[in-house]
């Protein structure tokens, strides 16, 4: 354990770790969709969630429609949006502007119900829905019909769906970069300091190779956790956490059709799990690349395409995990989400084990 602690200390050098942390934070603040949250439309949904909770039942929906007519009255009655002079006045007034976005949000919900995307229990699918179902497999169609027959309409916002679609890729890229920055120089440290030969000359020394691989895996997991924590902090700072319990399974712009019912919080936790898995796998890839190389540049030359191909593949498999977008069945979707990353991880663990065994038999590296 003492040696493992020392190895971890070599891995997480203060300057390097701090630099990486700052880089991740800056990238999230500058590029992520969460950083742009809430836009004016999202604010209206925030208000609705505060007032009605994460979902709407039919009684609440009727109340919402009444509230909409009150908002329209406040805005100057029907036809308020067509009067350009009046429109400019409304947009200049902060409180009235909020009404505009509330009306917009309620109209979007109404439109979705008209399309048959919600409250569709005991009803025939609408033409819009039938059109969508035509291109689906029977299992997908059954799942979509189950989703639209909900008695509780989720109050998620389009911004939430955009976060779910775009931010995971950014987090994945950050974790891959993090693994490269932490692990490649660490794995080459003994070669650079010329202590590798000393290590392999004793049994205890040879065991350090195992500890090094474990330390790398821990670093990958840590990089993923840190990236996820930073993202959660940004979500919290920008007020997205109010949507934590809001179901995100649905059709239209405010939902994604999933094979299982998920809330926004559950989706985030699922993604953090996948990110940790990706972090450990990327760490093993980097460790192997460095093990096969004599210098940082050769290690980077091997790791760069390996990480890029792995990142592309894993993003293709799990960009929006468990969603119906891939045109497969639920078991296939589950395999794509969890099975493929686990298989890759298992294969890399096996490869690492083989390399370690070969090292144990070698005299001098």
């Amino acid at each position: 354990m003492r040696v493992f602690g020392k190895e971890c200390r070599k891995l997480f050098r203060p300057g390097r770790s701090l630099g990486l942390l700052l880089f991740m934070a800056a990238a999230l603040v500058l590029i992520s969709r969460t950083a742009q949250f809430p836009d004016t439309h999202d604010k209206a949904y925030e208000e609705l969630v505060k007032e009605y909770g994460p979902t709407l039942d039919q009684a609440e929906y009727q109340t919402l429609l009444k509230a909409k007519s009150v908002y329209i009255e406040e805005l100057g009655g029907e036809g308020w949006s067509r009067d350009r002079v009046h429109w400019a006045e409304i947009m200049a007034d902060e409180s009235k502007r909020q009404f505009v976005f509330l009306v917009d949000a309620i109209e979007r919900i109404e439109e979705e119900i008209q399309f048959g995307y919600g409250f569709a229990f005991e009803k025939e699918p609408t033409e819009t829905l039938k059109e969508q179902l035509r291109s689906c497999t029977p299992q997908e169609a059954a799942r979509i019909l189950f989703i639209v027959q909900t008695k509780e309409l989720p109050l998620s916002s389009p911004g939430i769906c955009e976060i779910m679609e775009s931010d995971p890729l950014l987090l994945l890229i950050l974790v891959l970069i993090g693994c490269g920055v932490l692990i490649l120089p660490y794995q080459l440290l003994d070669k650079n300091l010329e202590t590798a030969s000393l290590m392999v000359s004793t049994r205890v020394g040879r065991r350090i190779f195992h500890l090094k691989i474990r330390a790398c895996a821990a670093a990958g997991a840590a990089a993923a956790f840190v990236a996820a924590l930073l993202h959660l902090a940004l979500l919290w700072l920008n007020g997205v956490m109010i949507f934590w319990n809001v179901p995100v399974c649905g059709l239209g712009l405010r939902g994604i059709p999933f094979w299982v019912d998920l809330t926004f919080g559950q989706y985030l936790l699922l993604w953090i799990g996948l990110l940790v898995l990706a972090g450990i796998t990327a760490a093993l890839l980097c460790a192997l690349a460095a093990r096969l190389s004599g210098s940082f540049i050769t290690a980077l030359t091997l790791a760069l395409p390996a990480l890029a191909i792995y990142g592309w593949g894993i993003h293709a498999c799990t960009a929006v995990p468990l969603s119906l977008w891939y045109g497969d069945t639920f078991p296939a979707s589950l395999f794509r989400t969890a099975g493929v990353p686990l298989l890759v991880l298992a294969a890399l663990t096996l490869a690492s084990e083989i390399v370690l065994r070969l090292d144990a038999r070698r005299d001098i590296l």
Partner: protein, 381 residues
């Protein structure tokens, strides 16, 4: 010469670099297949139509008969000609004479307006010279120019820069990684070794560049016949394309340029880019004495230069900094699909790319000189 040959051998015998080269080549192949390979039959049919019309722009009547043809490609081509043949007639830049400009305008705003006026005169020149009336593959349909220069060339440029950086850092760091650095530092000849390393790395970078270009570009032209089309000016109305903002706009070259001339100029700029990357790589390694730190510095610099234009004002308070931010190597690489054509008013003058690269070459040379002086004075560690 022996040292040079030995250093060259080190690079040529490095499987990791060749592996990376192979990955890049494969990626370029994928780009070519995705952008033109998949529509090779369509492109071949379009080429046949161009051949049948004798590589000249059909007149109004001929275009109309093409537009109503039963053949889908012919009808598409005819409609394209009818829609966009006169695009330059309805297109122009704002012109405000110096006397009519408000006094409160900054020097930068005045400069932008001068460039706008220059672009307006360039559009007039295109119209009058008939530069726009030349045939090519309709850009909104086949996106040949876009695929060649924005997708393929931009990716090749980045790949060459990465290979140059890796080649340089690999060779510079070789002695350190092999534990022979101290021996090399001892003698005067040993220190000169790094100059030989630089020359060898530059040669191999050029070799990688030649191979990447020599293999990827012919692959592209396997799917896109270009006979009789090389002399088409970039400003042809056939190059009309959808912009990122959803507008339709022709490619307006800043000077009369054919595709061949544009290609040659691109190769020249690419050479300058290789030299720039090589100088920075050498300077970073000599200064930091670590390939890891040099790569980190490269990455950080790349990101900073990438986001810099977004933090600088573009309107009244904009100044020379905004202009320079558009001429950084990173920005030029991003815009490499639109070299020598109008991108925005800030860069709307002839030779802006060359000016930007030269400025950075000068910076890199100064940095390299400082690093070399520092390296020579260094004690053994």
């Amino acid at each position: 010469m022996i040292l040079f040959r030995l250093e060259l051998k080190k690079l040529l015998h490095c499987p990791a670099l060749w592996g990376l080269f192979a990955v890049f080549l494969l990626y370029d192949g994928v780009i070519v297949w995705q952008s033109v390979g998949r529509q090779k039959e369509k492109i071949a049919e379009q080429y046949r139509i161009l051949q049948e019309t004798d590589f000249t722009v059909p007149g109004e009547e001929a275009a109309r008969s093409l537009a109503v043809s039963d053949n889908y490609r012919e009808s598409e081509y005819g409609r394209f000609i009818l829609n966009y043949k006169g695009i330059y007639e309805s297109f122009n830049f704002e012109e405000v004479s110096p006397e009519a400009r408000p006094e409160e305008w900054s020097a930068f705003q005045n400069r932008l307006m001068d460039r706008s006026a220059a672009m307006a005169s360039r559009v007039r020149q295109i119209r009058e010279s008939g530069e726009d009336q030349n045939v090519f593959y309709p850009e909104t349909i086949y996106r040949i120019y876009d695929s060649l220069f924005r997708n393929l060339f931009r990716s090749i440029l980045l790949e060459i820069m990465i290979l140059t950086v890796f080649t340089f850092l690999y060779l510079m760091d070789y002695e350190r990684a092999s534990g022979t650095e101290d021996i090399a530092f001892l003698g005067q000849k040993g220190r000169k070794l790094w100059a030989v390393k630089g020359a060898a790395a530059l040669c191999v970078s050029l070799l990688y560049a030649a191979l990447l270009l020599g293999l990827s570009l012919p692959l592209f032209f396997v799917f896109v016949p270009m006979k009789e089309l090389w002399q088409t000016p970039i400003s042809s109305f056939m190059m009309t394309e959808w912009t990122a903002d959803g507008d339709i706009m022709p490619l307006i070259s800043l000077a009369p340029l054919s595709l061949t001339a544009a290609m040659h100029l691109r190769f020249a700029l690419l050479l300058l880019f290789i030299l720039l990357t090589a100088l920075f790589s050498a300077a970073f390694w000599l200064f930091l004495h670590s390939s890891f730190r040099a790569v980190i510095l490269y990455g950080a610099g790349f990101l900073v230069l990438l986001v810099l234009p977004y933090f600088l004002p573009e309107t009244e308070s904009a100044g020379i900094l905004t202009e320079l931010a558009y001429l950084t190597p990173v920005r030029l690489w991003l815009d490499s699909g639109k070299w020598f054509v109008f991108r925005n008013l800030i860069t709307a003058y002839n030779g802006n790319e060359l000016f930007g690269v030269s400025l950075w070459l000068l910076t890199a040379s100064i940095l390299c000189l400082i690093s070399v002086r520092r390296f020579i004075k260094r004690d053994c560690q």
